[in-house]
Protein backbone atom coordinates (compact mmCIF):
# COMPACT_ATOMS: atom_id res chain seq x y z
CA UNK A 1 0.00 0.00 0.00
CA UNK A 2 1.41 3.38 -1.03
CA UNK A 3 1.83 6.37 1.22
CA UNK A 4 -0.86 8.20 -0.72
CA UNK A 5 -3.41 5.44 -0.04
CA UNK A 6 -2.73 5.38 3.71
CA UNK A 7 -2.74 9.14 4.12
CA UNK A 8 -6.47 9.63 4.23
CA UNK A 9 -7.37 6.95 6.82
CA UNK A 10 -4.59 8.22 9.09
CA UNK A 11 -5.91 11.74 8.92
CA UNK A 12 -9.40 10.47 9.62
CA UNK A 13 -8.21 8.53 12.69
CA UNK A 14 -6.42 11.58 13.94
CA UNK A 15 -9.58 13.67 13.67
CA UNK A 16 -11.84 11.22 15.47
CA UNK A 17 -9.31 10.76 18.25
CA UNK A 18 -9.19 14.48 18.85
CA UNK A 19 -12.98 14.72 18.85
CA UNK A 20 -13.25 11.77 21.20
CA UNK A 21 -10.91 13.35 23.70
CA UNK A 22 -13.04 16.47 23.76
CA UNK A 23 -16.20 14.47 24.44
CA UNK A 24 -14.59 12.19 26.99
CA UNK A 25 -14.06 14.95 29.46
CA UNK A 26 -17.60 16.29 29.10
CA UNK A 27 -20.14 13.56 28.44
CA UNK A 28 -18.93 10.01 29.02
CA UNK A 29 -20.29 8.28 32.08
CA UNK A 30 -18.33 5.06 31.65
CA UNK A 31 -14.62 4.40 31.35
CA UNK A 32 -14.03 3.46 27.72
CA UNK A 33 -12.56 0.03 27.11
CA UNK A 34 -8.82 0.55 27.20
CA UNK A 35 -6.27 -0.47 26.16
CA UNK A 36 -7.92 -2.41 23.35
CA UNK A 37 -5.85 -5.44 22.43
CA UNK A 38 -5.34 -6.60 18.83
CA UNK A 39 -6.84 -10.01 19.53
CA UNK A 40 -10.08 -8.34 20.71
CA UNK A 41 -10.50 -6.05 17.68
CA UNK A 42 -13.13 -8.21 15.91
CA UNK A 43 -15.22 -8.09 19.10
CA UNK A 44 -15.13 -4.30 19.28
CA UNK A 45 -15.58 -3.91 15.50
CA UNK A 46 -18.61 -6.19 15.64
CA UNK A 47 -20.30 -4.17 18.35
CA UNK A 48 -20.05 -1.04 16.21
CA UNK A 49 -22.14 -2.89 13.60
CA UNK A 50 -24.63 -4.18 16.14
CA UNK A 51 -23.15 -7.68 16.20
CA UNK A 52 -22.02 -9.61 19.27
CA UNK A 53 -18.99 -11.50 17.96
CA UNK A 54 -17.40 -14.32 19.97
CA UNK A 55 -14.16 -16.19 19.37
CA UNK A 56 -14.77 -19.74 18.14
CA UNK A 57 -12.21 -22.49 17.76
CA UNK A 58 -11.93 -23.66 14.15
CA UNK A 59 -10.88 -27.12 15.29
CA UNK A 60 -13.12 -28.08 18.23
CA UNK A 61 -15.92 -25.52 17.88
CA UNK A 62 -15.52 -24.17 21.41
CA UNK A 63 -16.96 -20.66 21.78
CA UNK A 64 -15.20 -18.66 24.48
CA UNK A 65 -14.66 -15.21 25.95
CA UNK A 66 -12.49 -13.11 26.58
CA UNK A 67 -10.70 -13.18 23.20
CA UNK A 68 -7.49 -15.19 23.09
CA UNK A 69 -5.30 -16.29 20.19
CA UNK A 70 -5.43 -19.95 21.21
CA UNK A 71 -8.38 -22.12 22.17
CA UNK A 72 -8.49 -22.63 25.97
CA UNK A 73 -10.28 -25.95 25.47
CA UNK A 74 -8.20 -27.85 22.84
CA UNK A 75 -5.23 -25.42 22.64
CA UNK A 76 -5.54 -25.01 18.87
CA UNK A 77 -4.00 -21.87 17.41
CA UNK A 78 -6.73 -21.71 14.76
CA UNK A 79 -9.37 -19.41 16.19
CA UNK A 80 -12.12 -17.68 14.19
CA UNK A 81 -15.24 -15.70 15.11
CA UNK A 82 -18.95 -16.37 15.26
CA UNK A 83 -21.89 -14.02 15.73
CA UNK A 84 -23.72 -14.81 18.96
CA UNK A 85 -27.51 -14.65 19.16
CA UNK A 86 -27.35 -12.02 21.90
CA UNK A 87 -29.58 -14.20 24.05
CA UNK A 88 -28.61 -15.78 27.32
CA UNK A 89 -29.27 -15.80 31.03
CA UNK A 90 -28.21 -13.78 34.03
CA UNK A 91 -25.76 -16.24 35.61
CA UNK A 92 -25.13 -13.98 38.58
CA UNK A 93 -25.30 -10.33 39.55
CA UNK A 94 -24.65 -7.70 42.18
CA UNK A 95 -26.62 -4.58 42.93
CA UNK A 96 -23.96 -1.89 43.27
CA UNK A 97 -24.82 0.89 45.69
CA UNK A 98 -21.65 2.65 44.70
CA UNK A 99 -18.76 2.20 42.29
CA UNK A 100 -15.18 1.88 43.47
CA UNK A 101 -14.13 3.01 39.99
CA UNK A 102 -14.03 6.83 39.95
CA UNK A 103 -14.30 6.92 36.15
CA UNK A 104 -17.69 5.21 36.31
CA UNK A 105 -20.24 7.96 36.81
CA UNK A 106 -23.60 6.26 36.28
CA UNK A 107 -25.74 6.89 39.30
CA UNK A 108 -26.09 4.02 41.80
CA UNK A 109 -27.81 1.71 42.35
CA UNK A 110 -26.99 -0.16 39.14
CA UNK A 111 -26.69 -3.85 38.33
CA UNK A 112 -23.36 -5.57 37.73
CA UNK A 113 -24.18 -8.59 35.61
CA UNK A 114 -22.49 -11.84 34.68
CA UNK A 115 -24.18 -13.05 31.51
CA UNK A 116 -24.04 -16.63 30.27
CA UNK A 117 -24.72 -16.55 26.53
CA UNK A 118 -26.73 -19.34 24.90
CA UNK A 119 -23.55 -20.18 22.98
CA UNK A 120 -21.75 -20.91 26.30
CA UNK A 121 -19.33 -18.14 27.20
CA UNK A 122 -19.80 -15.86 30.17
CA UNK A 123 -19.17 -12.13 30.06
CA UNK A 124 -19.50 -9.18 32.39
CA UNK A 125 -21.96 -6.38 31.62
CA UNK A 126 -24.77 -4.38 33.17
CA UNK A 127 -28.39 -5.43 33.34
CA UNK A 128 -30.53 -2.42 32.38
CA UNK A 129 -34.21 -1.55 32.00
CA UNK A 130 -35.11 -3.36 35.22
CA UNK A 131 -35.58 -2.38 38.85
CA UNK A 132 -32.34 -2.89 40.84
CA UNK A 133 -34.16 -4.96 43.44
CA UNK A 134 -33.21 -8.51 44.52
CA UNK A 135 -36.91 -9.34 44.55
CA UNK A 136 -36.99 -8.69 40.80
CA UNK A 137 -33.50 -9.54 39.58
CA UNK A 138 -32.90 -13.30 39.77
CA UNK A 139 -30.10 -15.61 38.74
CA UNK A 140 -30.89 -17.52 35.53
CA UNK A 141 -33.48 -14.98 34.29
CA UNK A 142 -33.45 -14.79 30.46
CA UNK A 143 -31.73 -11.72 29.02
CA UNK A 144 -30.98 -10.20 25.62
CA UNK A 145 -28.29 -7.88 24.35
CA UNK A 146 -28.72 -4.11 23.94
CA UNK A 147 -26.04 -2.21 22.04
CA UNK A 148 -25.09 1.15 23.51
CA UNK A 149 -22.96 3.51 21.45
CA UNK A 150 -20.41 5.42 23.52
CA UNK A 151 -18.81 7.40 20.67
CA UNK A 152 -17.86 6.86 17.03
CA UNK A 153 -15.23 4.31 18.01
CA UNK A 154 -16.84 2.38 20.83
CA UNK A 155 -20.12 0.54 21.27
CA UNK A 156 -20.64 -1.76 24.24
CA UNK A 157 -22.93 -4.72 24.89
CA UNK A 158 -25.44 -4.27 27.70
CA UNK A 159 -28.28 -6.64 28.56
CA UNK A 160 -31.95 -6.35 29.53
CA UNK A 161 -34.61 -8.86 30.56
CA UNK A 162 -35.66 -10.83 27.45
CA UNK A 163 -38.85 -9.60 25.85
Amino acid sequence: MSVAETAQPLLHDQRTTNTKRGRNTVELKRPLPTPMTPEAKPYWDGLKEGKLMMPKCDDCGHVFFYPRIACPSCHSRSVGWTQASGKGKLFSFEIAHRSLNPAFKIEAPFILAMIELDEGPRMMSNLINVDPDPAVVKCDMPVEVVFEKQNDDVTIALFQPAS
Binding site: P31, T34, P35, M36, F91, A96, F104, L112, A113, C139
Partner: protein
Amino acid sequence: MKELSNSVCIVGVDESDEIGSLPNVSQLSLHVQASHNAVRDAGLKMSDVDGIFTAGQHSPALLGEALGVNPRYVDGTSVGGCSFIIMVGHALLALHHGLCDVALISHGESGRSGCGVTRARDTSLSGQFENPYGFGGAPSYFGMITNRHMHEYGTTLEDWARVAVSTRAWAGLNPKAKFRDPITVQDVLDSRPMFYPFNLLNICLVTDAGGAVVLTRADRAKDCAKKPVYVRGAGEGTDHVFVTEMEEMPLSVATRNSGKKAFEMAGVSPGDFDHVMLYDAFTSGPPIMLESLGFCKPGEGVSYFEDGKSTPGGSLPINTNGGGLSYTHTGMYGIFPIIEAVRQQRGECGDRQVPGASLSLVNGMGGMLSAAGTIVLSNQK
Protein backbone atom coordinates in the same frame (compact mmCIF):
# COMPACT_ATOMS: atom_id res chain seq x y z
CA MET B 1 5.20 -35.24 49.36
CA LYS B 2 3.99 -37.54 52.16
CA GLU B 3 7.55 -38.42 53.14
CA LEU B 4 8.27 -34.70 53.71
CA SER B 5 5.49 -34.31 56.27
CA ASN B 6 6.95 -32.89 59.52
CA SER B 7 10.38 -32.39 57.93
CA VAL B 8 10.20 -28.62 58.28
CA CYS B 9 9.00 -26.33 61.08
CA ILE B 10 7.79 -22.78 61.40
CA VAL B 11 10.05 -21.33 64.08
CA GLY B 12 9.35 -17.60 63.91
CA VAL B 13 6.28 -15.44 63.26
CA ASP B 14 5.34 -11.81 63.84
CA GLU B 15 3.63 -8.75 62.47
CA SER B 16 5.19 -5.36 61.76
CA ASP B 17 5.81 -3.15 64.85
CA GLU B 18 2.27 -1.81 64.48
CA ILE B 19 -0.67 -2.73 62.24
CA GLY B 20 -3.67 -0.64 61.25
CA SER B 21 -3.52 2.83 59.74
CA LEU B 22 0.15 3.77 59.28
CA PRO B 23 0.51 6.68 56.83
CA ASN B 24 4.12 7.26 57.88
CA VAL B 25 5.45 3.73 57.39
CA SER B 26 6.41 2.76 53.85
CA GLN B 27 5.46 -0.55 52.35
CA LEU B 28 9.10 -1.60 52.29
CA SER B 29 9.49 -0.68 55.97
CA LEU B 30 6.49 -2.84 56.86
CA HIS B 31 8.34 -5.73 55.22
CA VAL B 32 11.56 -5.00 57.05
CA GLN B 33 9.86 -4.61 60.45
CA ALA B 34 7.93 -7.87 60.09
CA SER B 35 11.01 -9.74 58.88
CA HIS B 36 13.18 -8.52 61.74
CA ASN B 37 10.47 -9.30 64.30
CA ALA B 38 9.88 -12.81 62.99
CA VAL B 39 13.60 -13.64 62.83
CA ARG B 40 13.98 -12.41 66.41
CA ASP B 41 10.95 -14.47 67.45
CA ALA B 42 12.78 -17.52 66.11
CA GLY B 43 15.89 -16.71 68.15
CA LEU B 44 17.85 -16.39 64.92
CA LYS B 45 19.90 -13.60 63.35
CA MET B 46 19.10 -11.93 60.03
CA SER B 47 22.44 -13.25 58.80
CA ASP B 48 21.08 -16.79 59.27
CA VAL B 49 18.44 -16.18 56.59
CA ASP B 50 19.44 -17.54 53.20
CA GLY B 51 16.07 -18.08 51.51
CA ILE B 52 13.70 -15.20 50.76
CA PHE B 53 10.09 -15.58 49.71
CA THR B 54 7.74 -12.70 49.02
CA ALA B 55 4.80 -11.73 46.81
CA GLY B 56 3.26 -8.47 45.75
CA GLN B 57 5.03 -5.36 44.58
CA HIS B 58 8.48 -6.11 45.94
CA SER B 59 10.65 -8.81 44.45
CA PRO B 60 12.53 -11.15 46.78
CA ALA B 61 15.71 -9.60 45.36
CA LEU B 62 14.70 -6.16 46.57
CA LEU B 63 13.68 -7.49 49.94
CA GLY B 64 17.02 -9.27 50.27
CA GLU B 65 18.78 -6.04 49.44
CA ALA B 66 16.70 -4.04 51.92
CA LEU B 67 17.36 -6.59 54.66
CA GLY B 68 21.06 -6.89 53.85
CA VAL B 69 20.74 -10.55 52.99
CA ASN B 70 22.23 -12.15 49.90
CA PRO B 71 19.93 -15.15 49.56
CA ARG B 72 20.90 -18.51 48.14
CA TYR B 73 17.29 -19.11 47.15
CA VAL B 74 14.41 -16.81 46.17
CA ASP B 75 10.72 -17.30 45.33
CA GLY B 76 8.42 -14.53 44.11
CA THR B 77 5.30 -16.59 43.32
CA SER B 78 2.52 -14.03 43.16
CA VAL B 79 -0.96 -15.46 42.73
CA GLY B 80 -2.82 -13.22 45.14
CA GLY B 81 -3.17 -13.10 48.90
CA CYS B 82 -2.68 -16.83 49.39
CA SER B 83 0.83 -16.66 47.90
CA PHE B 84 2.41 -16.69 51.37
CA ILE B 85 0.53 -19.87 52.31
CA ILE B 86 1.65 -21.49 49.06
CA MET B 87 5.21 -20.41 49.86
CA VAL B 88 5.21 -22.53 53.02
CA GLY B 89 5.10 -25.53 50.71
CA HIS B 90 7.73 -24.04 48.43
CA ALA B 91 9.99 -23.26 51.39
CA LEU B 92 9.55 -26.81 52.63
CA LEU B 93 10.87 -28.18 49.35
CA ALA B 94 13.77 -25.73 49.20
CA LEU B 95 14.75 -26.52 52.80
CA HIS B 96 14.44 -30.25 52.24
CA HIS B 97 16.76 -30.12 49.26
CA GLY B 98 19.26 -27.94 51.05
CA LEU B 99 18.72 -25.01 48.68
CA CYS B 100 18.44 -22.88 51.79
CA ASP B 101 18.65 -23.48 55.54
CA VAL B 102 16.53 -20.66 56.96
CA ALA B 103 13.57 -19.50 54.87
CA LEU B 104 11.91 -16.12 55.42
CA ILE B 105 8.44 -15.47 54.00
CA SER B 106 7.59 -11.79 54.24
CA HIS B 107 4.59 -9.59 53.52
CA GLY B 108 4.37 -5.82 53.72
CA GLU B 109 1.51 -3.80 52.30
CA SER B 110 0.48 -0.22 52.80
CA GLY B 111 -2.99 -1.17 51.64
CA ARG B 112 -4.79 1.65 53.38
CA SER B 113 -2.37 4.56 53.21
CA GLY B 114 -0.44 3.69 50.05
CA CYS B 115 2.78 4.95 51.65
CA GLY B 116 5.68 4.36 49.26
CA VAL B 117 3.46 2.63 46.72
CA THR B 118 3.15 2.99 42.98
CA ARG B 119 0.88 0.88 40.86
CA ALA B 120 1.74 -0.34 37.39
CA ARG B 121 0.41 -3.53 35.86
CA ASP B 122 -1.28 -4.94 32.80
CA THR B 123 -4.93 -3.91 32.97
CA SER B 124 -5.92 -4.61 29.36
CA LEU B 125 -8.40 -7.37 30.19
CA SER B 126 -10.23 -5.71 33.08
CA GLY B 127 -9.92 -2.42 31.19
CA GLN B 128 -11.79 -3.80 28.20
CA PHE B 129 -14.16 -6.34 29.64
CA GLU B 130 -15.03 -5.25 33.19
CA ASN B 131 -14.33 -1.58 33.93
CA PRO B 132 -16.78 -0.14 31.37
CA TYR B 133 -19.61 -1.70 33.39
CA GLY B 134 -18.54 -0.26 36.74
CA PHE B 135 -16.53 -3.19 38.05
CA GLY B 136 -13.55 -2.40 40.22
CA GLY B 137 -12.47 -3.57 43.66
CA ALA B 138 -12.85 -7.07 45.04
CA PRO B 139 -16.43 -6.62 46.37
CA SER B 140 -17.72 -6.05 42.84
CA TYR B 141 -16.59 -9.56 41.91
CA PHE B 142 -16.93 -11.72 45.02
CA GLY B 143 -20.62 -10.85 45.31
CA MET B 144 -21.16 -12.64 41.99
CA ILE B 145 -19.92 -15.90 43.50
CA THR B 146 -22.01 -15.26 46.59
CA ASN B 147 -25.26 -14.52 44.74
CA ARG B 148 -24.82 -17.69 42.70
CA HIS B 149 -24.32 -19.64 45.94
CA MET B 150 -27.55 -18.19 47.33
CA HIS B 151 -29.37 -19.13 44.12
CA GLU B 152 -28.09 -22.71 44.02
CA TYR B 153 -28.18 -23.61 47.72
CA GLY B 154 -30.69 -21.23 49.30
CA THR B 155 -28.14 -19.59 51.57
CA THR B 156 -29.28 -16.27 53.05
CA LEU B 157 -28.04 -12.86 54.09
CA GLU B 158 -28.43 -14.01 57.71
CA ASP B 159 -26.11 -16.96 57.03
CA TRP B 160 -23.33 -14.63 55.85
CA ALA B 161 -23.98 -12.21 58.71
CA ARG B 162 -23.31 -14.97 61.25
CA VAL B 163 -19.77 -15.29 59.89
CA ALA B 164 -19.13 -11.61 60.64
CA VAL B 165 -20.61 -11.95 64.13
CA SER B 166 -18.47 -14.99 64.97
CA THR B 167 -15.30 -13.38 63.68
CA ARG B 168 -15.95 -10.18 65.62
CA ALA B 169 -16.37 -12.23 68.82
CA TRP B 170 -12.81 -13.50 68.35
CA ALA B 171 -11.53 -10.01 67.53
CA GLY B 172 -12.84 -8.89 70.90
CA LEU B 173 -10.23 -11.19 72.47
CA ASN B 174 -7.32 -10.00 70.29
CA PRO B 175 -5.71 -6.73 71.48
CA LYS B 176 -4.24 -6.19 67.99
CA ALA B 177 -7.62 -6.33 66.23
CA LYS B 178 -8.91 -3.12 64.66
CA PHE B 179 -12.60 -3.60 65.51
CA ARG B 180 -13.35 -5.33 68.82
CA ASP B 181 -16.89 -4.36 69.86
CA PRO B 182 -19.40 -7.21 69.54
CA ILE B 183 -21.92 -7.06 66.68
CA THR B 184 -25.20 -8.85 65.96
CA VAL B 185 -26.71 -10.35 62.84
CA GLN B 186 -29.04 -7.36 62.73
CA ASP B 187 -26.06 -4.97 62.86
CA VAL B 188 -24.68 -6.62 59.73
CA LEU B 189 -28.06 -6.52 57.95
CA ASP B 190 -28.47 -2.85 58.90
CA SER B 191 -24.97 -1.76 57.89
CA ARG B 192 -24.48 0.36 54.79
CA PRO B 193 -25.45 -1.38 51.52
CA MET B 194 -22.37 -1.75 49.29
CA PHE B 195 -22.68 -4.45 46.64
CA TYR B 196 -25.74 -6.64 47.19
CA PRO B 197 -25.56 -9.19 48.76
CA PHE B 198 -22.82 -7.42 50.74
CA ASN B 199 -23.28 -4.66 53.27
CA LEU B 200 -20.28 -2.93 54.82
CA LEU B 201 -19.90 -5.49 57.64
CA ASN B 202 -19.69 -8.34 55.12
CA ILE B 203 -16.48 -6.87 53.72
CA CYS B 204 -12.96 -6.97 55.16
CA LEU B 205 -10.96 -4.05 56.50
CA VAL B 206 -8.30 -2.23 54.49
CA THR B 207 -5.20 -1.71 56.61
CA ASP B 208 -1.44 -1.19 56.56
CA ALA B 209 0.61 -4.04 58.02
CA GLY B 210 3.43 -6.45 57.55
CA GLY B 211 3.83 -10.05 58.62
CA ALA B 212 6.57 -12.64 58.32
CA VAL B 213 7.18 -16.32 58.92
CA VAL B 214 10.52 -18.12 59.38
CA LEU B 215 11.04 -21.81 58.62
CA THR B 216 13.87 -24.25 59.02
CA ARG B 217 14.39 -28.02 58.93
CA ALA B 218 13.07 -29.93 61.92
CA ASP B 219 16.51 -30.91 63.23
CA ARG B 220 17.61 -27.28 63.43
CA ALA B 221 14.23 -26.10 64.73
CA LYS B 222 14.93 -27.69 68.11
CA ASP B 223 17.62 -25.05 68.72
CA CYS B 224 15.31 -22.09 68.04
CA ALA B 225 13.75 -19.90 70.71
CA LYS B 226 10.17 -21.15 70.58
CA LYS B 227 8.41 -24.49 70.41
CA PRO B 228 8.59 -25.65 66.76
CA VAL B 229 5.39 -25.95 64.78
CA TYR B 230 5.55 -28.74 62.22
CA VAL B 231 4.38 -28.35 58.65
CA ARG B 232 2.49 -31.60 58.28
CA GLY B 233 1.01 -30.86 54.89
CA ALA B 234 1.02 -28.26 52.14
CA GLY B 235 -0.84 -27.89 48.87
CA GLU B 236 -1.63 -25.32 46.23
CA GLY B 237 -4.01 -24.84 43.33
CA THR B 238 -5.10 -22.33 40.75
CA ASP B 239 -8.24 -22.08 38.68
CA HIS B 240 -9.39 -18.92 36.93
CA VAL B 241 -8.39 -15.28 37.25
CA PHE B 242 -11.52 -13.68 35.81
CA VAL B 243 -14.69 -14.67 37.64
CA THR B 244 -16.41 -15.33 34.32
CA GLU B 245 -13.95 -18.21 33.87
CA MET B 246 -14.52 -19.78 37.31
CA GLU B 247 -14.96 -23.43 36.47
CA GLU B 248 -17.46 -24.63 39.08
CA MET B 249 -18.80 -21.34 40.44
CA PRO B 250 -19.70 -20.91 43.27
CA LEU B 251 -17.30 -23.67 44.40
CA SER B 252 -13.52 -23.31 44.06
CA VAL B 253 -11.54 -25.91 42.18
CA ALA B 254 -8.32 -24.23 43.33
CA THR B 255 -9.34 -24.55 46.98
CA ARG B 256 -10.36 -28.18 46.56
CA ASN B 257 -7.09 -29.12 44.86
CA SER B 258 -4.93 -27.32 47.42
CA GLY B 259 -6.74 -29.02 50.30
CA LYS B 260 -6.60 -32.48 48.76
CA LYS B 261 -2.81 -32.27 48.39
CA ALA B 262 -2.26 -30.88 51.87
CA PHE B 263 -4.54 -33.41 53.58
CA GLU B 264 -2.96 -36.34 51.72
CA MET B 265 0.54 -35.21 52.64
CA ALA B 266 -0.45 -34.77 56.29
CA GLY B 267 -2.50 -37.96 56.43
CA VAL B 268 -5.46 -36.09 57.90
CA SER B 269 -9.10 -35.51 56.99
CA PRO B 270 -11.31 -32.46 57.63
CA GLY B 271 -12.80 -33.91 60.83
CA ASP B 272 -9.36 -34.06 62.49
CA PHE B 273 -8.82 -30.29 62.87
CA ASP B 274 -9.40 -28.52 66.16
CA HIS B 275 -8.58 -25.02 64.84
CA VAL B 276 -9.30 -23.49 61.45
CA MET B 277 -8.04 -20.33 59.73
CA LEU B 278 -9.78 -19.31 56.49
CA TYR B 279 -9.13 -16.24 54.36
CA ASP B 280 -12.13 -14.04 55.09
CA ALA B 281 -12.06 -11.12 52.69
CA PHE B 282 -15.86 -11.52 52.59
CA THR B 283 -18.28 -13.28 54.93
CA SER B 284 -19.26 -15.79 52.27
CA GLY B 285 -15.65 -16.89 51.74
CA PRO B 286 -15.14 -19.20 54.76
CA PRO B 287 -18.31 -21.28 54.21
CA ILE B 288 -17.53 -21.67 50.50
CA MET B 289 -13.95 -22.68 51.39
CA LEU B 290 -15.19 -25.32 53.88
CA GLU B 291 -17.44 -26.74 51.15
CA SER B 292 -14.67 -26.68 48.56
CA LEU B 293 -12.24 -28.36 51.00
CA GLY B 294 -14.69 -31.21 51.59
CA PHE B 295 -15.64 -30.41 55.18
CA CYS B 296 -19.30 -30.71 54.17
CA LYS B 297 -21.61 -30.83 51.17
CA PRO B 298 -22.00 -27.74 48.97
CA GLY B 299 -24.40 -25.34 50.63
CA GLU B 300 -23.73 -26.61 54.16
CA GLY B 301 -20.64 -24.55 55.00
CA VAL B 302 -22.72 -21.93 56.78
CA SER B 303 -23.74 -24.53 59.39
CA TYR B 304 -20.23 -24.26 60.88
CA PHE B 305 -21.13 -20.74 61.96
CA GLU B 306 -24.46 -21.63 63.57
CA ASP B 307 -25.16 -22.02 67.28
CA GLY B 308 -21.79 -20.62 68.35
CA LYS B 309 -19.84 -23.56 66.92
CA SER B 310 -17.13 -21.34 65.42
CA THR B 311 -16.99 -18.81 68.29
CA PRO B 312 -14.89 -18.75 71.50
CA GLY B 313 -15.67 -21.95 73.41
CA GLY B 314 -17.30 -23.51 70.33
CA SER B 315 -16.69 -26.98 68.91
CA LEU B 316 -14.59 -25.80 65.93
CA PRO B 317 -13.01 -22.35 66.44
CA ILE B 318 -12.62 -20.49 63.13
CA ASN B 319 -10.57 -17.33 62.46
CA THR B 320 -9.45 -16.82 66.03
CA ASN B 321 -7.41 -13.67 65.32
CA GLY B 322 -10.57 -11.80 64.30
CA GLY B 323 -9.88 -12.35 60.63
CA GLY B 324 -9.70 -9.99 57.73
CA LEU B 325 -13.17 -8.88 58.75
CA SER B 326 -12.16 -7.41 62.13
CA TYR B 327 -8.41 -7.84 62.89
CA THR B 328 -6.45 -6.68 59.84
CA HIS B 329 -6.55 -6.98 56.06
CA THR B 330 -3.88 -5.28 54.01
CA GLY B 331 -4.86 -6.61 50.60
CA MET B 332 -2.78 -9.79 50.53
CA TYR B 333 -3.91 -11.15 53.90
CA GLY B 334 -2.46 -14.69 53.63
CA ILE B 335 0.53 -14.27 55.94
CA PHE B 336 -1.67 -13.41 58.93
CA PRO B 337 -3.68 -16.66 59.25
CA ILE B 338 -0.34 -18.53 59.26
CA ILE B 339 0.93 -16.32 62.11
CA GLU B 340 -2.24 -16.94 64.13
CA ALA B 341 -2.17 -20.71 63.58
CA VAL B 342 1.44 -20.87 64.77
CA ARG B 343 0.60 -18.83 67.88
CA GLN B 344 -2.34 -21.14 68.62
CA GLN B 345 -0.14 -24.20 68.20
CA ARG B 346 2.41 -22.67 70.56
CA GLY B 347 -0.29 -21.80 73.11
CA GLU B 348 0.55 -18.08 73.02
CA CYS B 349 -2.90 -16.66 72.42
CA GLY B 350 -4.02 -15.66 75.91
CA ASP B 351 -7.77 -15.01 76.14
CA ARG B 352 -8.40 -16.38 72.68
CA GLN B 353 -6.28 -19.52 73.08
CA VAL B 354 -8.06 -22.64 71.85
CA PRO B 355 -7.45 -25.08 74.70
CA GLY B 356 -5.33 -28.04 73.61
CA ALA B 357 -5.12 -26.95 69.96
CA SER B 358 -2.99 -29.54 68.21
CA LEU B 359 -3.97 -29.45 64.54
CA SER B 360 -4.54 -26.20 62.63
CA LEU B 361 -5.81 -25.76 59.11
CA VAL B 362 -4.76 -22.67 57.20
CA ASN B 363 -6.50 -22.13 53.88
CA GLY B 364 -6.36 -18.97 51.84
CA MET B 365 -7.41 -17.70 48.47
CA GLY B 366 -5.77 -15.50 45.91
CA GLY B 367 -8.00 -13.23 43.88
CA MET B 368 -11.63 -14.38 43.76
CA LEU B 369 -11.00 -17.98 44.86
CA SER B 370 -8.71 -17.97 41.82
CA ALA B 371 -5.71 -19.50 43.55
CA ALA B 372 -5.49 -21.29 46.88
CA GLY B 373 -2.98 -22.50 49.40
CA THR B 374 -3.61 -24.96 52.22
CA ILE B 375 -1.24 -25.93 55.02
CA VAL B 376 -1.64 -28.26 57.98
CA LEU B 377 0.24 -27.22 61.12
CA SER B 378 0.77 -29.06 64.39
CA ASN B 379 2.81 -28.77 67.57
CA GLN B 380 3.26 -32.54 67.43
CA LYS B 381 4.90 -34.79 64.86
